[in-house]
């Protein structure tokens, strides 16, 4: 049976503007995976390591975090902080013997840009190849 991963996307207010404007159907028409859920934050700097780990605990197979370009963050250091926290989760996944590739971080331009859809598609493809998260227990 084909495996459809649960992808959780965390992005800031600015990098998700178009996503919100287009709505779920508009995004799907652009090719955004329907199995990906957007979790919108005021700023990437708000993202805690525990929130990302919680996503895996709650059954995510992959997590994609999107923040502004390092020098364009509205809150100056927010996206850089988010990138470091993703690094911490990647390290934790490696410590647990899980694939680090289950989490990705991207610095993207604000507003609409095809890369937003593209990076989530890429993670979706990658995680589909990896299979279900090893933290699911039931391996389904």
């Amino acid at each position: 049976m084909a495996f459809t991963p649960d992808i959780q996307v965390f992005c800031c207010h600015y990098t998700s503007q178009q996503a919100c404007a287009e709505g779920k159907e508009g995004l799907a028409a652009d090719g955004f995976p329907v199995n990906a859920t957007i979790n919108r934050l005021a700023c990437g700097g708000k993202l805690k390591v525990s929130v990302l780990l919680q996503a895996f605990e709650n059954g995510a197979d992959g997590v994609c975090v999107v923040g502004c370009k390092p020098d364009e963050c509205h809150n100056l250091m927010g996206s850089q902080r988010a990138a470091r926290r993703v690094g911490a989760v990647r390290k934790a996944l490696a410590e647990l013997g899980a694939e680090e590739a289950r989490i990705a971080f991207h610095h993207l331009e604000r507003g609409f840009h095809p890369e937003f859809v593209q990076v989530v598609q890429e993670l979706n493809d990658q995680v589909t190849k990896l299979g279900p998260s090893p933290f699911k227990g039931d391996k389904s």
């Binding site: 805690k48 390591v49 525990s50 780990l53 919680q54 895996f56 605990e57 934790a92 410590e95 647990l96 013997g97 899980a98 090893p134 933290f135 699911k136 227990g137």
Partner: protein, 222 residues
């Protein structure tokens, strides 16, 4: 403060492999300040243990809590709140906290989640460096406030070793030669003559080489 670092998660999960109910106990003291075992780290470790156990196909119930300190009996006694609700305690305090729980809770299994590393401080965010060795016989009044026991790679007591180059340590190039720094500092205060004094052979018993140390203040005992 005491600086500690979390142990690898696999090591911690292996320690508690037989436990189904785990209490992860943080400390609001030093380990909280150095981001090794405070509330935030407790939250993370709870999550990591749950993920590790899930991966191993094991059932687990993990609770997290943080005590004011784990090095005082009155705060350790607060563990009574969770009496009968855990099979094992994973302490995120320094080694003192783990020992205190082991001393005061003879029937409880307690495991360390961190490696207690050194006494240090943080001059840059996210970085800590050793400043004091807790040797029990302080010579800082002779060395311009800079500790050769903790900060000289060879703990030399009578000046630099000869390997110092451009003011850097020959063992660890990234750190300054502390004897060069002591020399520069005493020179600034016109106290360079202090360096002519030969430090006698050191008695390391106060440093712990004579067994566990103890401090008693009769004015405070009851």
């Amino acid at each position: 403060m005491i600086i500690a670092e979390r142990k690898p998660i696999n090591e911690i999960v292996a320690m508690v492999r037989d436990a189904e109910r785990i209490l992860v106990l943080g400390c609001r003291g030093c380990v909280s300040v150095c981001s090794a075992g405070g509330e935030r780290e407790v939250e993370l470790l709870c999550s990591l243990i749950r993920l590790g156990k899930k991966q191993a196909g094991q059932q687990v119930q993990v609770e997290g809590a943080t005590l004011v300190r784990q090095c005082d009996k009155e705060y350790v006694d607060e563990i009574d709140r969770w009496q009968g609700q855990y099979d094992a305690i994973v302490s995120m305090a320094c080694g003192v906290g783990v020992n205190f729980i082991a001393n005061l809770r003879p029937a409880d299994k307690v495991y360390p989640a961190v490696n207690t590393s050194f006494f240090g401080g943080s001059a840059l965010q996210g970085e800590w460096s050793e400043q004091c060795a807790g040797c029990g016989d302080c010579v800082l009044h002779l060395t311009g406030g800079l500790c050769p026991v903790a900060r000289c790679a060879k703990s030399l007591m009578n000046g630099p070793c000869g390997g110092s180059v451009d003011g850097r340590c020959e063992i660890h190039r990234e750190i300054p030669c502390i004897w060069q720094a002591i020399h520069d500092r005493l020179s600034r205060f016109e106290q360079k003559a202090e360096l002519d004094r030969v430090a006698p052979i050191r008695d390391w018993r106060p440093a712990g080489h004579g067994g566990p140390r103890k401090a008693v203040r009769n004015d405070l005992t009851i």
